[in-house]
């Protein structure tokens, strides 16, 4: 290695390695040096320590090459050469993009849920975006075949409207109706989309003696976003709906993010004529990664591992994210104080 090559190689070393080298040459005072002085010190002592310096550089370069060998798609990201840890950033962004189109094959858990509905109530608790709608649609199809009414309820009018459009597309508008607090289209259709409050009110009326064919032939009640059961204001309506749900109808509760689906399933089993089957997993169909973006535009991984840590106690921040966030906090603290 020529002196120039050596100098360039040193400039590319992470600070942590530079400091280690500096310390082995100049002793503890190196710990207080900045990058420029460190390089100066190392260069000055390089002749006497050439083996050690070169070994460090070579190991580092080998590591870099190994990381770079991992194929990185996604254009701009891989050509980035900012100081810090470009390799980690590359790993974070690796594989970004559109997957190969694949024919639709229902997941095992989706089939499991649909089939379990033949035998009893079902709670599906899987991550957001997994495909709970497929279960709802498939179960609706089966109930339709048996000439049974299906009610789909959701907490939000917006969601009811989206589902109405979706179900109209799948089953044909003549088979789908919608009832919300202020809207009523085709209210005698075999598939009814409604807000949970409306269903509860229908159940009140039926219990009060009013005859409602829709409830007599009710075969399936789908309760989407059923974690609303824990909503401080409206949760009670979900409970009432479940308690008053006619015994011949099957219940299908769909939800992401709840901590105690077992408890809910045990409750349903205790009050309903058929046992409740719980379909549950935590596997995200599209893996999720976390990044940290500093206000200056610098992106780094948020965690030390590229995949999401499995629990808060195992979540270790990426050193760069930690450093930048600490810096941010100090900066804003300072401006807050002076401003």
């Amino acid at each position: 290695m020529t002196r120039d090559e050596l100098e360039r190689a040193l400039a590319n070393l992470p600070f942590r390695l530079l400091r280690r080298l500096g310390r082995s040459i100049a002793g503890p005072p190196a710990l207080r040096m900045g990058k420029r002085r460190l390089m100066h010190t190392i260069m000055a002592g390089a002749e006497a320590n050439i083996a050690r310096v070169e070994a460090t550089i070579r190991t580092h370069q080998a590591e870099q090459q190994a990381l770079a060998a991992v194929p990185a798609s996604g254009g701009g990201a891989s050509s980035e050469h900012k100081p810090g840890k470009p390799a980690d950033l590359r790993a974070l962004l690796e594989g970004i993009g559109v997957p190969e189109p694949r024919p639709f094959v229902p997941d095992d858990w989706q089939m499991e849920a649909v089939e379990a509905l033949e035998r009893g109530d079902v709670i599906v608790s899987v991550p957001t975006g997994s495909g709970k709608t497929y279960v709802a649609v498939e179960a609706t199809r089966r109930a339709m075949h048996e000439d049974r009414t299906v009610v789909y309820t959701s907490p939000l009018k917006a969601l009811s409207n989206t589902k109405y459009t979706e179900f109209c597309k799948i089953f044909g508008p003549e088979f789908v109706g919608i009832i919300t607090g202020d809207r009523r289209d085709n209210p005698t259709a075999p598939i009814l989309i409604m807000t949970t409050e409306i269903l509860r009110n229908l159940l009140y009326d039926a219990a009060g003696g009013e005859i409602d064919v829709r409830l007599d032939t009710l075969g399936l009640v789908i309760i989407d976003e059923s974690q609303f059961l824990g909503d401080s204001e409206r949760g009670v309506v979900w409970e009432e709906t479940i308690i008053f749900c006619p015994s011949q109808a099957r219940l299908l509760l769909l939800s992401a993010s709840i901590g105690n689906p077992h408890e809910l399933a045990a409750w349903l089993t205790s009050i309903r004529p058929t046992p409740c089957h719980l379909v549950r997993h935590q596997h995200r169909s599209v893996p999720l990664r976390a990044g940290y973006l500093h206000p200056n535009g610098k992106l780094t991984p948020l965690f030390r591992t590229v995949t999401m840590p499995p629990s808060p106690s195992q979540a270790v921040l990426h050193p760069e994210a930690k450093r930048l966030f600490t810096m941010f906090e100090e900066d804003t603290l300072y401006t807050r104080r002076s401003g």
Partner: protein
């Protein structure tokens, strides 16, 4: 460096790293709007082909939602490929943004966390800029379930091989909350069962009172309480076993006996402590320091006017009259000796503690006293302690002679702790098992008093129709109907009042003036809420929001744009106000059978509300 990343810069970085489309979650509607405004001056615009595709989608949607036609944000969305999405927008606009996002036309959407729940609105990346959320005036941390919902929007099945949750800091962000949210297990769902009046009426319509308890038992609330109770019962069993070793001895009830004793001791402890604080000779003097007593201090003599102890002080004090008529306070410990001389005088309840003439007489007497007077010999007080106390408890405490006494004294503390815990748990279990039912009975009795239920807890004639009102504040509405408050009401005024009752937002906004008719109806409603205050939480009853609904229903030539101009309220909020009003009105409309006139007015109001923007939507 600005505290948080500039929105234009943020989107540039996201585009560079192929992280688009992205949803950027911001704290408030305002920050979403400001972020979008920042793009109005951004130098970059989308390539023409992409702009055209956005325009095409918007045009297509305009066919079903005419309000999209002249939407002020249309231009920014089309040229920059970014949008805002929050509750201040009209539903049609939100639908348009959702559709654009679904078709991959947009690069970024700035949204509030309200978006997170339920809407089918996925992206490749979500950007988290905050760790808290505004909830009823408060700013609270996002829950794990909320962070999971937000980050769950990232990564579209079939369109992305990876999804990203990107954290970008802003002042006051707590990174710990986000880390917990991203990696933790969501909170359990707990029952929030409440017994509302419509529930009671509807249950009692269908079932006799003695079936109700078994229906309530089916609730998740009861299920969870039973689980808690079972857990406690297990504990109670253990405590019960422990109590075995404290079972009856010489007497059956020694634990109670000793706990009475313990309480008495604790009550006297304070006094005892104070008394012990003085040395025995001072304590011995205390009984002699009555009003009128002459006492000697090291340098002067005086007559005691009163003895007292000020709050929080351990020392006993005396107020003394000194020569020259001076009234002074001093601690009893300063008294050197008690002189064998007292004067009778009329004490007063306040300073100077003696009637004026008594005071001057005493002053005179004090001056006339001979120079040398003998001190009383006061024997030092014996040490007071448990012995005296036990005596003072008398028959209550028979233990001193009992052979068990030493063991009881030793074990009583531990035994009592166990017993108290046992009692506490037993009571908790009882209320867990029967609390719901008691609450139901309590509220049913209120309905009975108000006349909706008869003596047998069956629905009265009023109860029969009142059960059809199944919204918040149902009691207020049914009571207003019973009080004839809606006699001769116009559709506009009825809609106005329903809007006041339905609107739960206390965002400060400005509104058009309201008519006298509505004002007086709101005043009636307000008086009614005061009367109902013990039974039900009152609605906000903001008269000002009612004005909007009144205007919209009262004058059908008013256009949406005109209506919006009369208030500073956001379009989305006006829409929500009117659609909630619709809901409330349709409940009133359901009373056709018993209140045909009112139902007709409600029907008229309903049909007038449904026009323009309110008709275009599902």
């Amino acid at each position: 460096m600005p505290p948080s990343i500039h929105p234009v810069h943020l989107v540039t970085v996201l585009r560079q790293k192929s992280l688009t489309p992205a949803i950027v979650f911001l704290t408030s509607r305002r920050s979403c709007d400001e972020a979008l405004q920042a793009f109005e001056h951004a130098p970059d615009s989308l390539p023409p082909a992409r702009q055209e595709s956005i325009t095409a989608v918007l045009d297509e949607l305009t066919a079903s939602y005419p309000s999209l036609q002249d939407h002020p944000l249309r231009k920014t969305v089309t040229t920059c490929g970014v949008a805002a999405h929050h509750a201040g927008h009209l539903p049609s606009w939100k639908i348009a943004i959702e559709e654009l996002m679904r078709r991959g036309c947009l690069d970024a959407v700035f949204a509030t966390t309200t978006l997170a729940a339920g809407v089918d609105f996925p992206a490749r990346t979500v950007v988290l800029t905050q760790s808290g959320v505004r909830r009823d005036q408060d700013f609270t941390d996002l829950t794990i379930a909320e962070v999971a919902q937000i980050s769950g929007r990232a990564g579209r099945r079939g369109k992305d091989s990876v999804g990203f949750a990107i954290v970008t800091p802003s002042p006051y962000m707590d990174l710990g909350v986000l880390i917990r949210g991203l990696t933790g297990r969501p909170e359990p769902v707990d029952s929030q069962f409440i017994i509302a009046y419509p529930m009671i009426l509807n249950l009692l319509k269908a079932h006799p009172l003695d079936h109700i308890q078994s229906i309530l038992a089916k609730s998740f609330a009861q299920y969870q309480m039973n689980a808690q109770a079972a857990h406690l019962e297990h504990r109670i069993e253990k405590l019960h076993a422990k109590l075995e070793s404290y079972k009856p001895r010489e007497c059956s009830d020694w634990l109670t006996q000793w706990s009475a004793y313990d309480q008495a001791t604790r009550q006297t402890a304070m006094k005892l402590h104070a008394r012990r604080h003085h040395p025995p000779e001072v304590r011995a003097r205390l009984p002699y320091l009555t009003p009128g007593r002459v006492v000697a201090f090291p340098r002067f003599r005086g007559i005691v006017l009163r003895r007292y102890r000020s709050r929080g002080q351990r020392h006993e004090m005396v107020t003394v009259l000194r020569t020259g008529g001076v009234v002074a306070e001093s601690p009893v410990a300063d008294i050197m000796g008690v002189i064998d001389r007292t004067f009778d005088f009329a004490p007063a309840p306040a300073f100077p503690w003696a009637a004026p003439e008594a005071l001057s007489w005493l002053t005179q007497q004090l001056e006339d006293l001979p120079k040398h007077l003998p001190f009383l010999t006061v024997p030092p007080a014996p040490d007071e302690g448990e012995g005296e106390l036990v005596k003072s408890l008398g028959d209550l405490f028979p233990c001193p002679t009992c052979p068990c006494r030493p063991t009881c004294a030793k074990e009583f503390k531990a035994g009592n702790t166990v017993k108290q815990e046992w009692l506490h748990h037993t009571r908790t279990v009882q209320s867990l098992r029967t609390g719901l039912w008691h609450k139901f009975q309590e509220r049913a009795e209120i309905l009975q008093d108000l006349g909706y239920l008869d003596a047998a807890f069956k629905l009265t004639a009023d109860g029969e129709w009142a059960r059809l009102i199944r919204i918040d504040f149902s009691l207020l509405i049914t009571e207003l109907i019973r009080a004839q408050a809606f006699k001769d009401v116009t559709p506009a005024t009825l809609a106005g009042l329903m809007a006041c009752i339905a609107y739960e937002n206390d965002r400060p906004d400005s509104f058009p003036r309201i008519t006298g008719a509505l004002a007086s109806l709101v005043a009636t409603a307000r008086r009614m809420t005061e009367a109902l205050a013990p039974y039900d939480d009152p609605p906000l009853l903001r008269a000002d929001v009612g004005g909007l609904a009144e205007r919209w229903v009262g004058d059908t030539t008013v256009t949406w744009a005109q209506l919006c101009r009369t208030t500073s309220m956001a379009e989305g909020d006006i829409y929500r106000l009117l659609s909630r009003t619709l809901e409330y009105l349709s409940q009133v409309h359901s009373l056709q059978a018993t209140h045909p006139d009112l139902a007709t007015v409600a029907a008229e109001a309903l049909s007038r509300i449904r026009r323009g923007v309110l008709e275009e939507l599902p």
